[in-house]
Symmetry: C2
Subunit: 332 residues, 2 copies
DNA sequence: TTGTATGCGTTATCAA
DNA sequence: TTGATAACGCATACAA
């Protein structure tokens, strides 16, 4: 009952392995009779082709490597769902790697994925990645890579992003329309594409409403809870914000916690908007107004783009950036 | 710069492939001289062994297949972190499959993982799985499988669980010590092991406190939000609960939402305890007291158990159940 | 219509 | 100490 091979079938039916192989692949050269005999026998012994042998032959693994900062983060796990959904439809496997925001681990994961002969890569950059030389190696090896959400500051690569500028603009505009004027913006490390784009959206909204930009209210913040707490405390103590626009799932969570610790502040009419896909946003107190990214769809689109590159055969798919719309969900 | 093989190295250095192979594996039969030449050259051309060829040869894939209901669930993503952490240390890859609580998908995933020649499986059962015949097939194919959290009701398998009975007992006891007497218990489908064990803990605590068990207060509930809402509404309308003990991340989330919709009820002195690893439990309003499972550790232990089976070589590792302690985190 | 031989990258066996 | 060859499972070019 251990793994049956084509050879076993050939022996049992007194045929050659090539005949069996062709019969199983429904080749035109094989008689209906033989085909029937082979497929029926194969079924009866639960034959399943060995994908490893196939991979070795075709030098393809039929797997794609997904590299994300962490999966215990609703945005990323939703994206992964989208990737998963699309990839499995096409018989591809998804192997997930986590960088925990470390460039070194990102590189190690990449090496690892390549060593395993991933056919393609889908990736969202770590918060510490500034070097993109590995892209040359990938090109040399003909391994396509599609970035999503956190993408490199380069034109010559494939990207799927959401319209961060517009999302941040809408979020800020929402706060302004609530009468807020001192809007703190707590955001991810400045190297990230999303950070820059969202900051630009924030600034544009302030400018369009003739509100001066106070640099003290703009804070880059790492993903450790303590950092977020300190940032929040300093803002409240020294800079008198009347509202907060916080980016990323993890930061939103940490900052929310930091705000909770300042009960007196929350008791005032503080407004908070998060750029996040947190599942519990509507259950928090105060309920969190959010800019929600179409995470599942992002995963789908990234995967489809990857497949279009994989199936290009000679034709070259132009480098492109797919931009999806965000949704502002007002809860306060 | 495309993938360098042993053959390429052999040709370049005028050696045979076997010599190169042995030199790279640091075999005792090879002269120090040759070894040095080979390893240095290999490094210079960025040789990485092709794991697919190795897999074909060894009939091992060096990957393990993880099957869970869903990854966008903090409990499962934490467990996966633990698995990931342990597996990668040993050079193993983790391929994740989601069942979305469907038995059919669970079976399909299993087939898929086996077809890909996973060396082992780590699995948490879907909410609709009652048939365990596939275990025989796995045994016949010598594929070890370790279950965690939601495990089969069988003795002859490997399991890693948390002490659900004790966890539920402590949770219920906590509510009783708050003066609660009509404690509603909303829990997962009755087929699941965790459901039975937690129910037993709930009942034991009531019994030990001389509180009669009201069957109307015990509700099995699926994972759709609507179901949870209906359950909550019916309980409140018709059965006068003074507190809730809700099991599973997803159910806790859905029921919390259902409770929020009943503002009048929440305004009373209602106590809620969740059996969940939700990251935002402490940020909810009211803050959610929880029984927290050692999810990461569960993943670690399951993986280590799996490896001990994989490395057993002849020796048989006895079927066993590893039970971890839960933590009651009181927030109210 | 079917069979034979070869190769994918690697290691193990046997020979030299 | 090194080399030639077969084998892992499969697909295919070439023969028959």
């Amino acid at each position: 009952m251990t793994n049956v091979t084509i050879k076993d079938i050939a022996k049992a039916l007194n045929l050659s392995t090539s005949t069996v192989s062709r019969a199983l692949r429904d080749s035109y050269e094989i008689s209906a009779d033989t085909k029937k005999k082979v497929t029926e026998y194969a079924k009866s012994v639960h034959y399943t082709p060995n994908p490893i042998a196939l991979s070795l032959k075709e030098n393809k693994s039929h797997s794609i490597c997904v590299i994300v900062p962490e999966i215990a983060n609703n945005f990323f796990s939703e994206v992964i769902n989208g990737i998963d959904f699309t990839a499995f439809q096409r018989g591809y496997h998804v192997v997930i790697f986590q960088t925990y925001e470390s460039f070194e681990r990102e590189q190690a994961n990449l090496e690892n994925g390549l060593a395993r002969r991933a056919d393609g890569i889908i990736m969202s950059l770590s918060g510490t990645t500034e070097n993109f030389e590995y892209l040359d190696k990938l090109r040399a090896d003909n391994i396509p890579i599609v970035f999503f959400d956190r993408v490199p500051p380069l034109d010559d690569c494939y990207k799927v992003v959401s319209d961060n500028l517009e999302g941040a603009y809408k979020a800020t505009q929402h706060l302004i329309s609530q009468g807020k004027k001192r809007i703190a913006h707590i955001t991810s490390p400045p190297v990230l594409s999303i950070t820059k784009e969202r900051l630009a959206g924030y600034k544009a909204a302030l400018r369009d409403n003739n509100i001066d930009i106070d640099q003290n209210l703009v804070r880059y913040c790492g993903f450790e809870p303590k950092e977020a707490f300190q940032t929040i405390d300093d803002l409240i103590k020294n800079h008198n914000p009347d509202s907060f626009f916080i980016c990323s799932d993890r930061l939103a969570l940490n900052c929310f916690e930091g705000l909770k610790k300042n009960k007196n502040v929350l008791a005032e009419d503080i407004c908070i908007v998060g750029y996040t896909n947190l599942k519990t946003a509507h259950l928090l107190e105060p309920p969190l107004t959010t800019v929600r990214q179409p995470a599942f769809e992002m995963g789908q689109q990234a995967t489809e783009l990857l497949f279009s590159i994989l199936n290009a055969k000679g034709r070259t798919i132009p480098y492109q950036t797919i931009t999806l719309k965000n949704e502002l969900i007002v809860r306060y």
